[in-house]
């Protein structure tokens, strides 16, 4: 089980690094070329959401991305450490229509989750051990 772990301080620039790494590892894991755009976008959304929350609540804590090249699947987990209070407000149910955005200047984290949910077939969101959410996404691989 080959694993890559990326931990980065909560800065927008690092979201690009995370996308880059996710796409590179996904490709090597055997994720279909046609799906790599989806991986890049979904991982980017999950990381943008985490960076956004960290900057507001815990700017000194890193965001953690875990990439696992499993037997027949490529698994990504993006974990933030935002305080639990914040968590409820951006669950999947919270935002059905982005059209409802109240303050579009700061994109609510829920939009990112909505995009992920609309894009990726296999997604799970769980409450982290101490705080925050873990967004788990899985894609099938060829081998």
């Amino acid at each position: 089980m080959a694993t890559v772990e990326l931990r980065f301080s909560a800065l927008p620039a690092h979201v690009r690094t995370a996308r880059l790494v996710a796409a590179a590892v996904a490709r090597r894991s055997g994720v279909d070329e046609s799906v790599l755009d989806e991986v890049r976008l979904a991982v980017g959304e999950a990381c943008s959401r985490a960076v956004h929350l960290h900057r507001r609540h815990c700017p000194d804590r890193p965001v953690l991305v875990t990439l696992v090249d499993d037997v027949d699947a490529f698994r990504v987990a993006v974990a933030d450490e935002a305080p639990p209070a914040e968590v409820g407000s951006d669950g999947f149910g919270a935002l059905t229509e982005v059209a409802d955005l109240v303050d579009a200047e700061a994109v609510p984290p829920g939009v990112g989750l909505a995009v992920i949910a609309g894009l990726v077939d296999d997604v799970e969101v769980e409450v982290g051990r101490e705080s925050g959410l873990v967004v788990r996404m899985t894609w099938p691989t060829a081998s």
Binding site: P12, V15, S48, E97, V98, E105, V111, G112
Partner: protein, 113 residues
């Protein structure tokens, strides 16, 4: 790849051509551009997305913010986009119902309501 922005005027329409990646890192620059245009009295915007390679929800947020600004002045914000992977993101988020999306700049410029 970075964000590229250029603007030009056709009649009462201002066309903003966007290229590259609109993400959490570059979206602030697009927002600034839209804010500046509205401050400048440009209330009818056409955002040409044909050269956009990547768009995420931060980018969507900036576009929605722009739409609200021009609407406050009875203006409009139309998008030009034929790229399937970009359209998909508007569809997923229900934004195809919010933005008029056109197949070409010509179509967007001549459109009314």
């Amino acid at each position: 790849m970075d964000l590229s922005l250029s603007t030009r005027t056709e009649g009462d329409r201002t066309i903003v051509e966007v290229g590259g990646e609109i993400d959490v890192y570059t979206a602030p620059r697009l927002r600034e551009q839209l804010v500046d245009l509205v401050a400048d009295g440009k209330y009818h915007l056409v955002v040409d997305m044909e050269r956009v390679d990547f768009l995420d929800s931060t980018g969507l947020g900036v576009l929605v913010g722009g739409l609200k600004r021009v609407r406050a002045h009875d203006g409009s914000l139309r998008l030009v986009c034929t790229q399937e992977r970009i359209l998909k993101i508007f569809r997923i988020t229900g934004l195809t119902k919010v933005f008029p999306i056109h197949a070409s700049v010509e179509e967007a410029v001549s459109a009314t309501e």
